[in-house]
């Protein structure tokens, strides 16, 4: 096979060769195997990171759903609009229509939502459910691989206990999508995973199909305290910065080696070289960092102080990647203009502040100031209790903004817990707003979701009722809570 092959046949050979070298192991790449019967060469699966980018694929399947018409509600769409006396139609797991006084399709189950409120499913972009499960015992403490400042190689999903009762409490609070992150002990904490908040036997049953991974990074006090207390680097903020840069240099070098290898391999396959190149050694830590540099993994950066955010941005410029979101972001209001220019989202709380020095300048007006400055603003939880009350936490921020003369309406503020987190974690094309064609992730509230008295009545994920406060058959219970002495679960409440 020398020199006379057409472009088409050359491409075919390359596919065959790739298959022979690294046979796919999972569904994601099986399409390229094409029933190749000639691949008899000895294979070494898993050595090339490009061979299988999804070794733990989602096995999520939506629960059965019917056509549903939520009729008469006040609807916050997540796109900044409010629809009074609105109707939302869910069909085939998708939102098919939304508007005021829409006709109800034949065969639809009609839910009378007059006097109630409908929002997109609430998204918590910062959760440790499953990795720090309840009960808070040693055995369930799997969120921080605090053994090295760079553990980009670990994946939060491998710590997730699907039976964490916290998932169901969060569901009762309207959470339909979660980003589960490793903790903040390390400069690079590992991969974050996006989950659909549905009960699953395995974490893969919960994985949001097609969602990108996140990389948890952490600024400031936590890494320097953890490793400083172990008398190793980093023990200072300057040590932190060195740690990030050192890792990004290694990651760029890793990418270069693999790119060169793939180029040489293609040359060899094309007959342009006599000798097959030797593959670089695969490194799981570098795979994750390279994923960020390639743009396929989104940086989720725990960072409280504004000045540190600016330094992290400088590092992102130096190595050519984008920070998707700063988490916690207590001082983000101090650098709101920079964050807007960089198109970086900020996740923060309504009122948490002051628990350590880097959060001492956290103010309730933060979210409103950011929103006013045009920054993609997110309210997150970082907490198994708070995640149950995210719209109310947003209400605290909203009220503080109004008190400071910043006018933001509820239809805009609901984006802080729906569309904006969806954007920041990379799933806005699928969920986060009530728009035709999107996943039917929807919450029916008893009252204005910004009210302390608001309770979820129904929670839909992909059009299926995954929680119904009035229907015990639609109230999941974790294995752990099964058989306990008291009705710990609302489903069993009198």
């Amino acid at each position: 096979m020398k020199n006379r092959l057409s472009a088409a046949s050359l491409a075919a050979v390359m596919v065959l060769s790739a298959c022979a070298t690294v046979p796919p192991q999972s569904g994601a790449s099986q399409t390229s195997s094409g029933g190749n019967e000639q691949a008899k060469e000895k294979s070494y699966p898993g050595l090339d990171p490009a061979s299988d980018s999804d070794p733990f694929p989602s096995t999520y399947q939506g629960l059965p759903s019917s056509i549903v018409a939520l009729v008469g509600a006040t609807v916050f769409t997540g796109t900044g609009s409010r629809i009074d006396n609105g109707t939302v139609i869910l069909d085939g797991g998708k939102i098919t229509a939304i508007g005021a006084n829409l006709p109800v399709p034949a065969g639809a189950k009609v839910v009378d939502a007059h006097g109630k409120f409908v929002t997109p499913g609430i998204i918590d972009a910062h959760s440790h459910l499953g990795v720090y499960a309840t009960p808070e015992v040693w055995a369930n403490s799997d969120g921080n691989e605090a053994t090295d400042p760079n553990t980009a190689q670990v994946w939060a999903e491998h710590s997730v206990w699907p039976q964490d009762p916290g998932f169901i409490r969060a569901l009762e609070g309207g959470i339909t999508t979660l980003e589960i992150l490793p903790g903040s002990a390390n400069l690079f904490g590992g991969r974050a995973v996006i989950l659909k908040n549905v009960p699953g036997r395995t974490v893969q049953d919960m994985k949001f199909p097609g969602a990108p991974y996140g990389l948890k990074m952490a600024c400031g006090e936590n890494p320097k305290r953890v490793y400083g207390s172990k008398n190793r680097a980093p023990s200072t903020r300057m040590g932190n910065i060195f740690g990030y840069r050192k890792a990004w240099i290694e990651a760029q070098d890793y990418r270069r080696k693999w790119d060169e290898y793939h180029k040489k391999l293609a040359d060899y396959k094309a007959g342009k070289a006599d000798k097959a190149p030797e593959a670089p050694k695969r490194d799981l830590q570098m795979d994750t960092l390279a994923g960020v540099l390639d743009g396929s993994i989104l940086v989720q950066n725990h960072c409280y102080r504004g000045d540190e955010m600016a330094q992290m941005i400088a590092i992102s410029h130096e190595f050519g990647f984008h920070i998707s979101m700063f988490h916690h972001g207590s001082e983000a209001y101090k650098v709101a203009d920079i964050l807007r220019k960089e198109d970086i989202c900020v996740a923060t709380w309504g009122e948490w502040w002051g628990f350590k020095m880097e959060s001492f300048d956290g103010i309730e007006e933060n979210a409103a100031l950011l929103s006013k400055a045009g920054v993609c603003t997110v309210i997150h939880s970082d907490d198994a209790i708070l995640t149950q009350h995210l719209p109310q936490e947003a209400a605290i921020a909203l009220a503080a903004g109004r008190r400071a003369g910043i006018e933001i309406d509820e239809a805009e503020a609901i984006k802080w817990v729906t569309a904006n987190p969806a954007k920041a974690i990379g799933v806005l094309n699928q969920t986060g707003t009530l728009e035709p064609g999107k996943m039917a992730d929807v919450v029916l509230w008893s009252a204005d979701p910004f009210s302390v008295y608001a309770l979820t009545e129904q929670v839909y994920v992909d059009g299926a009722v995954v929680f119904d406060r009035h229907d015990p058959t639609r109230q999941p219970l974790s294995d752990f809570e099964l058989g306990q002495a008291g009705p710990a679960h609302p489903g069993a409440r009198p």
Binding site: W138, R169, W353, I385, D448
Partner: protein, 464 residues
Amino acid sequence: MSRARRFRSDSQNPGALGRAKRGPRGCGVGYPALKYSLLAFAAAISLMGTAQAETIAITHAKIMTLGSAGLIADGSVIVKDGRIAAVGANVSVPAGARIIDAQGHLVTPGVVASNTALGAGEVEGEATSDDFAGATDHLSAAFDVSLGVNPASMLIPVARMGGVTRAVIVPELPGRGDKKGDKLFAGQAAVIDLSGSANSITRRYAALSADASSGAAGRIGGSHASVLQRLEADLDEAASYGANKGGYEHGTHRPYRQSKEDLEALQPILQGKEPLLIEVHRAADIRRVIELGKRLKLKIILDSVEEGWQVAGDIAASGYPVLVDPQTDLPNEFESLNSRMENAGLLSAAGVVVVVKPPYSGDYARQVRYNAGYAVAHGLPWEAGIAAITRNPAQVFGFAEKTGRIEPGLDADLVVWSGDPLEMLTVPLHVLIKGEEQPMISRAQELARRYGALDPAQPPAYRH
């Protein structure tokens, strides 16, 4: 005692810690934008110095008195010499009184943050800034947190902005719950007002804080049983001491584990004069603490009681009041597996006096009204929700003669609200503490003003 929840996930030591056009609920209330004028702030500050003698009339108010007058749909509160002089629908406004027209808004007693570190610590993560944990081998029951109170704490104005006017500071055992130690008593709780004035201590020795949680068990031996046995032994020792003080002075007493100061501090507890505030979670443990309390004729306040709803009848029969955080609905520990948000409502329905508390850390104190709101969302009657953060804590911690209701003779701790006080979208419009109107500004608003409108010609450091 339970620490702030966030330290769990935001920590790196697993195991170690861890103006609306439309007001809420259609009440038609608008938000006044905060005036960031320095002159206004200065005026408010100077007002504080002279307000003691100021006579204030809050008129056209919906008044929730929490007292015998109940709810007054449209009335006035007259404030004179720092106290409530009159309240009612038909009281006359004294000549020369400054009038605060409430325009129909709700007025309640000031909110009480119960079981908090507020005023005895600044930054939770920086031990050198904290004064809420001080028990030592020789100063446990006797540790008096009131002596560490800093009225100038930067956290106080922040809490005040949320309508909090008094705080019950409860000391915590040192060591973040993960250090071995030998003590069950964290020390003496104190009640403060949030005026920031030098004389802001309302009451010392409001309660003695004790810990009967699994944290305490871990600290002293490993079992809930050892906690109860040790608690009783410590009290027995104090009883022996009390009956034979002369013997102590002459050295003719049995060996005591506790210091003289601690043994003295336990005397009012044994006499039933001062309440023993006990952190306890599990239903079975609650029953045992009640049994111990009745047997020794103690005055007990049950703190946390996540599983209290399971033994609500026992608690009601004991007459012991409870402190609850209504948001705790997860099986966080094996001693709180049956936590649920209906706890406060079910206990109240059973006849238990319920105090709603905020999470412990001082920066959380302003959350207490939302916590009451969550309890109401899950079954506690709204009026009981207000009482749980006003009248009830004042009664339980022994300062009902000072505040907690709007009645003549009590200190004028008053809040005028933009709407329902338990709602997040509601803000306090006016806060009065002991008759002085408080400036509605804290360091947070100054930061917001400094960074709210960035101007290259005037860097933030020059904006104050």
